[in-house]
Symmetry: C2
Subunit: 200 residues, 2 copies
């Protein structure tokens, strides 16, 4: 790095470059942009980061992130408490909320089982899920985990351990994405779509 | 936006999405990443933004950004004060410093002449450049402006107005970029490279 960039600026660029989606060059561009918009963006962003770092907490019930605990979803009386949707992390919860397709509550596992990376059941909120599933008023657990090896291993583990609880365990369907061209799909997806075919 | 994202988080995501290189989705991903790394990245970034917003100033001599004024480049006695390199903005100064190809001082114009956008000579630091050029000890002005219409218009304007000062005015050469395939170059660049051809 050239000595012509002062230490404050260099520290800012180095931190910006750690964010996903920004590399060393785009971090410099972002720093220049922010310095041009000090009052409109840079100072509010500094405040928002500090504010969120201090005030956003993990919901003790479902594991979602919110400034209140329990989170707004767990407090929302209009949402169906009998259906729990199990997701890997808060990003997936946001994706489902953006689509507006789940009207029940959530349970954020905090990751996936991955023996190779040393992630076992105790590292995830699996015990808490089984406890919630056994509680009164829960009828269905929707396992909305990614369609990867770790995701499916975790889903399988959950299904086995949820047998004791008197709930139905379901999973998202697999198949052709809406708007997807068959030509661009992998063999696994095509096989799954063919196997799970439905009559018109 | 779904109501499931709390107001602190939503404000953070909205501000992150304003940065160049981040859109609404990648801003969410960045927010999730930052919340996972609160102590290592999020809080230091909040501090660095606030610190830079408060302490980075414009060098009164050359227009560079630094925490000291005059900036580190203008203070550096080992740099040649007789050669001034004129750049559009601080990003271009950083690019030249990264390449390590200029051992003199700089002059940051703060933009380019653009009659359509209402940017005239008074909006840029052109008067200050002419004053510096007329001062003692300045022998050469290197005009390192972009090879665009506005860049060349500005370069032409500078050349005309620097005639009174007893300095040689030079510009960066145009031609084939190092490592560039001829096949992918535009006609204008090829024509310039052909016209400015040199003997081996």
């Amino acid at each position: 790095m050239p000595a012509s960039i002062g230490p404050e600026l260099q520290r800012l660029i180095d931190l910006l470059a750690k964010m996903p989606g920004l590399g060393p060059r785009s971090a410099k561009r972002a720093a220049l942009y922010l310095l041009k918009k000090r009052e409109q963006v840079m100072e509010p962003l500094a405040f928002a980061l500090d504010d969120a770092a201090k005030n956003v907490k993990t919901c003790a019930i479902c594991g979602n992130w919110d400034s209140i605990d329990p989170c707004a979803i767990c407090r929302d009386e209009t949402r169906d408490p009998s259906v729990l949707c199990v997701v890997q992390d808060v990003g997936d919860l946001w994706a489902l909320e953006r689509a507006g397709v789940h009207k029940g509550r959530y349970h954020v596992l905090g990751g996936l089982l991955s023996p190779l990376d040393g992630v076992g059941p105790d590292e995830l909120k699996i015990g808490a899920l089984i406890e919630r599933a056994q509680g009164p008023g829960v009828n269905e657990i929707i396992v909305a985990l990614p369609s990867t090896v770790d995701g499916q291993t975790t889903a399988h583990y959950l299904t086995e351990h949820l047998e004791r609880a008197q709930v139905s365990v379901t999973r998202l369907s697999q198949g052709v994405p809406v708007g997807g061209e068959l030509d661009y799909l992998d063999e696994g997806t095509l096989a799954a779509a063919m196997k799970a075919r439905r009559s018109f």
